[in-house]
């Protein structure tokens, strides 16, 4: 049913720390590895060893240069489904294949009902959904729904594959609907933000902006390189010969 459920009290989601993400792509590969055998399997690759590599990924890490009056810095930016509270990708779906779970707010696609019209990917401002041209259906992040409730896994492994893989703990998983949860407190503490709030999709996932520059970093004065002086002698002769 593509009508949205009454607002679930539980809002499972991710919080991503842009201060500590080092852009190592471990979350990207861990996601691909788990999910190509998981709920939305396969994550098809087209021409994987050829000249026009393409394929389905649920998580992609961009890199940006953020320049303010305090200076510039590189920010690594993982982008995946934000499991919005107002997911237009769900309401535009003509078949009922896209749905938002009433129990925990996870947005999923029922691959057996998807007709591959791609309208949901047009309705998502974040580019979270990717079309599988091989299977002919739309695919997206499942928040590793087949891990987080999986009794066959050890309790500490019942987190999304991207969270488990992150070497700098830049990715956090939890219930953002519970203000007392560790993840909600982290968002409060660090001033976590929603992406494109002006569009009104109310993303569940939040991003923690990089911490402010401390201004305590040592400045290293390196002398500028000087232009090569014209030399005499043998090296000068070689220089003149090669310059001709």
């Amino acid at each position: 049913m593509t009508c949205l459920p009454a607002q679930p009290s539980k809002k499972l989601g991710l919080v991503i720390d842009l201060d500590t993400c080092v852009g190592c792509q471990a979350c990207v590969t861990a996601c691909k590895e788990w999910n190509t055998g998981g709920h939305m399997a396969p994550l098809t690759d087209i021409d994987p060893y050829g000249g026009h590599v393409d394929g389905v990924w649920f998580n992609r890490v961009h890199a940006y240069e953020h320049t303010t009056e305090h200076g510039s810095r590189t920010v690594n930016f993982p982008r995946s489904c934000l499991h919005c509270e107002q997911p237009a990708c769900v309401t535009v779906c003509p078949t009922g294949a896209s749905y938002k779970r009433a129990s925990d707010g996870i947005v999923l696609v029922d691959e057996d009902k998807c007709i591959g019209c791609k309208l949901c990917s047009w309705a998502c401002p974040y580019g979270a959904r990717e079309f599988d041209t091989d299977v002919g259906v739309m695919k997206k992040c499942t928040l590793c729904v087949d891990r987080i409730y999986n009794d066959n896994l050890a309790a500490e492994d019942r987190v999304p594959a991207c969270v488990a893989a992150c070497p700098t703990s830049a990715r956090h998983f939890g219930d953002l609907g519970d203000p007392a949860s560790a993840i909600s407190q982290l968002v409060d503490e660090r001033g976590g933000v929603a992406l494109m709030p002006e569009l009104g999709y109310k993303p569940t996932n939040k991003y923690l902006p990089p911490r402010a520059h401390s201004g305590r970093a040592a400045t290293v004065e390196a002398p500028a390189l000087e232009p090569i002086r014209a030399e005499g002698g043998f090296l000068g002769w070689i220089d003149r010969m090669l310059s001709n």
Binding site: E65, G96, C117
Partner: protein, 312 residues
């Protein structure tokens, strides 16, 4: 946005088909157009043929067309589903009207009721098509107050020019229909110019700053997550060179508006069959022009996901 030909043809053909169906239902049902068998047969075949060809073309855009029937289920939330329901529902009064008007040679009474219902169904279906695009917030050029009226105006325009060509072809044309088609084309031209002017100065509220949550200053993309174009860039990141955009806008205006206006104006003064030839040429030129217009509608639309790839 990637201009898939299946969708470009679908929206253009069904727009013209529903426009023609609405006019035939309205004018034929009420007896303003005589219940002539061959005129009716060709007219209804043209209208329904354009609609069916368009709907079939739209399934070419699907990854799993064999499941297309599922699209009738979510009319409570989805404009695409509503379009599917409205398009199929419109076939019922259209069929009843066709039987009465074409095969029984009747107008008025139940034929008029069926004709009016078919016309209403045509208008509703075109509205649902327009709303599919107008409801998409990530695409500012579509999520605008110009989109829904554009679909209605262009359906009325192409339907009227087709209806005029049809009536002229059977030597049943009227000055009123000819002038109406001319005015509808001028209205379409005006609306397209106003839309382009609005889109060209459109200020999109989303920026790379709000897209990344990095407040203040500038956010410059320095590395993509992938080296080749992926689905997002192929589908949502379609770009059109500025010089081609300007040229295609001129081609659109020439084919869809200027040529039909000139031909229809000349047809006012020409006897049959010269007036009929001019009217048919006007319809053909306009349909070709509207295909270019619809291609541009997609190609010039910018999706917010391109912000992540450093494309303003």
């Amino acid at each position: 946005m990637h201009p898939a030909f299946s969708v470009v043809f679908f929206t253009t053909a069904t727009g013209a088909g529903y426009g023609l169906l609405a006019l035939l239902g309205l004018l034929g049902g009420l007896g303003f157009i005589p219940a002539d068998f061959w005129l009716g047969l060709v007219g209804m075949a043209l209208a329904l043929g354009l609609i069916v060809a368009g709907l079939l073309s739209s399934t070419g855009h699907l990854g799993r067309p064999e499941r297309a029937w599922r699209a009738f289920s979510q009319w409570r939330s989805s404009w695409l589903s509503r379009e599917g329901v409205a398009s199929v529902a419109t076939f019922i009064p259209a069929g009843v009207f066709g039987i009465g008007w074409v095969f029984l040679g009747k107008s008025g009474g139940w034929v008029a009721v069926a004709g009016l219902l078919a016309a209403a169904g045509a208008v509703v279906t075109v509205c649902t098509t327009g709303m599919i695009y107008a409801s998409l917030k990530p695409i500012a050029q579509w999520h605008s107050r110009y989109t829904l009226p554009a679909y209605l105006i262009f359906a009325a325009m192409t339907g009227s020019v087709l209806a005029n060509a049809l009536l002229q072809g059977f030597d049943l044309g009227s000055m009123a229909m000819l002038i109406w088609a001319l005015l509808a084309t001028l209205a379409g031209w005006g609306w397209k110019l106003a839309t382009w002017r609005y889109n060209d100065q459109l200020e999109i509220p989303t920026t790379a700053n709000t897209a990344t949550g990095l407040a203040g200053g500038t956010v410059r993309s320095i590395e993509w997550p992938h080296t080749e174009e992926n689905y997002l860039l192929k589908e949502m990141g379609f770009r059109i060179a500025r010089k081609h955009g300007a040229k295609l806008r001129r081609i659109t205006q020439l084919l869809a508006f200027i040529t039909p206006v000139v031909l229809l104006a000349i047809a006012v003064f020409l006897p049959w069959p010269l007036g009929a030839i001019a009217s048919v040429l006007a319809a053909v030129a306009q349909f070709a022009g509207m295909l270019v217009e619809r291609w541009l509608f997609f190609a010039e639309a910018k999706h917010t996901v391109t912000l992540y790839y450093g494309r303003e």
